[in-house]
């Protein structure tokens, strides 16, 4: 702890807002909802100061529609919400996936379903983030487990959305959104900003969905002089509806191909004490905090336990598990839901290790002691 470092007390939601600004977000449209409200509150102050736009919309359907429009107009656009609002956004989220619009949705999860427990933590929206909108589509979902990561993952979310022309979801639980911690954020000059690739051919040659070698098509902003068509129907490279099976195949497979190409880059995973581990706790969000604390006790008790920390939930980083499966006897998956990532772990595990889940859906979080007890119970 160098004394020259300047520290501040910062809340997770505050860090998301700071991350959005650092990544160059210049448009926010949203409707306030607990426990995400601080993000809108802060950006309402800071965006206009910096030449950006903030709009409070009539609801979350309007919010996502507005950020899609802003993104097509060339802005880096973000919205923040919680479960009930995220449900309302699903239809337009699908539109943004098919039309390949770079947007970022921050969902600070609260306990559901429906209005649920508005101020209590949960990780119940993991599957909704993956499959909430209909139709087969790829999606990138990042989940921070500290205030610093609330900042850095928001920056990454904006960058990934621009790079892959795809919606990115920051799925944060209430514990991370509302906790305050001592942080020191990197200076603005240190932060990488990725901007979408724009067309450089004459407008009459431009085909808005003609993929470049990277798998992503250059994106012109409305108003730049490139006239083109955007639709929620399956479309050809010119952006016009098509029912031609080959063109339909290219359209949908193209969506998957671009994310598959970036799979390793978008999969954020960290490993702690895994070198000699015989047992692993696989955790994300606030459960990482409980797991780390439990690890201290378990290691002191002489148990070889490590942590696989998922920063990306979707696409599911299966390699993180596959790499360690040969050495693992047990994997423990604590979640503030009935076992949503647990199923993914089962799928990848394919019967190799014993998989144990710890679940909590009462609006409180799983404590380190509960993890310690579970692990000791299994290992003995």
């Amino acid at each position: 702890m160098s004394k020259k470092t300047s520290y501040q007390l910062m809340q997770g939601n505050e860090a998301v807002a700071a991350g959005a600004l650092a990544a160059g977000v210049d448009f926010f449209a949203g409707y306030p909802i607990t426990p995400s409200t601080e993000i809108a509150e802060i950006l309402a102050d800071r965006l206009p100061e910096n030449g950006g736009k903030f709009i409070q919309m009539e609801d979350e359907i309007g919010s996502i529609a507005a950020i899609i429009g802003a993104a097509i107009g060339g802005r880096k656009a973000l919205t923040a919400t919680s479960g009930p609002g995220f449900s309302l956004m699903q239809e337009n989220l699908g539109f943004a996936c098919l039309a390949e619009i770079p947007i970022v949705i921050v969902n600070v999860m609260r306990a559901g379903p429906s209005t649920g427990l508005p101020t209590s933590p949960s990780q119940g929206d993991v599957m909704q983030a993956r499959w909430g909108t209909h139709g087969d589509h790829p999606i990138i979902v990042l989940t921070p487990s500290s205030v610093e990561e609330a900042f850095s993952y928001t920056v990454k979310a904006v960058n990934f959305s621009e790079k892959y022309r795809n919606p990115v979801i920051v799925l944060m639980d209430e514990v991370i959104g509302h906790m305050r911690a001592r942080v020191s954020l990197p200076p603005a000059a240190m932060i990488e900003r990725i901007n979408r690739v724009r067309p450089n051919m004459p407008p009459e040659w431009y085909q808005p969905y003609e993929r470049s070698a990277s798998g992503v098509a250059p994106m012109a902003s409305f108003g730049d002089g490139y006239r083109y068509h955007i639709t929620g129907l399956v479309h050809d490279t010119k952006g016009f509806p098509t029912a031609n099976p080959n063109e339909a195949r290219d359209n949908i497979r193209g969506l998957f191909a671009k994310i598959e190409r970036g799979f390793r880059e978008v999969c954020l995973v960290d490993y702690e004490l895994m070198e000699d581990a015989e047992h692993a706790i696989l955790a994300y969000g606030s459960m990482v905090l409980s797991a780390r604390s439990a690890l201290e006790d378990l290691r002191q008790a002489g148990l070889k336990v490590g942590l696989i920390k998922l920063g990306t939930l979707w696409p599911f980083p299966r390699f993180a598990l596959e790499h360690y499966l040969p050495q693992l006897k047990t994997i423990i998956v604590p979640e503030l839901n009935m076992g949503q990532i647990y199923r993914e772990v089962l799928r990848v595990n394919a019967g190799k290790a014993v998989i144990e889940k710890i679940n909590r859906v009462n609006g409180t979080i799983i404590t380190p002691d509960e993890i310690v007890k579970t692990v000791k119970g299994i290992v003995r």
Binding site: H178, A181, R182, T367
Partner: protein, 194 residues
Amino acid sequence: MKQNRTEIRLAGSGGQGLITAGIILAEAAILDEKNVVQSQSYGPEARGGASRAEIIIADGPIFFPKATWVDILLTMSQKASDQYSFDLKAGGIFIVDTTYVNQIPTSNALAIPISARTREKFGKEIFSNIVALGVICEATKVVSIKALQAAVSARVPSGTEKMNMEALAFGKNLAREAIKNNNGVIAEAIEADS
């Protein structure tokens, strides 16, 4: 491994300013060059529901952000006293605002009518949370008074700094008086802690 971890819980009703007090205490800890995490829990109501702020202060890294066995507990409602006094560590310090707590669950508590005395002194209860911070500082020394003064000044609306400094000093005095007049148990606990 978990020595040097001090867990503090401030609990009462929404509107008493306990979350603000928690933030200020956390910022004071940073000024004291400690590591800190602050979290909160509250109901869906704007005011009147149960409200709770927790602060973990440590020299090293802090993993679990919530309090489990608390070293310092301040309660400003009967419900909070009933609910949380069981979570107090042996040797922990329990401060009760008797303005809103009629039945104190243990004799091992520093009982002070914080809100009532604040009302008498300042004409309104709005400073109760800052007075409570003064009480906590004097009774527990969990943060330095210098850091607390700086943190309060940085958080409160401009123009109210002087009143808030008075509120802190008033709280420290309340604590000193109470410790002097209190039974031996609590004084001993505080003595052992400092």
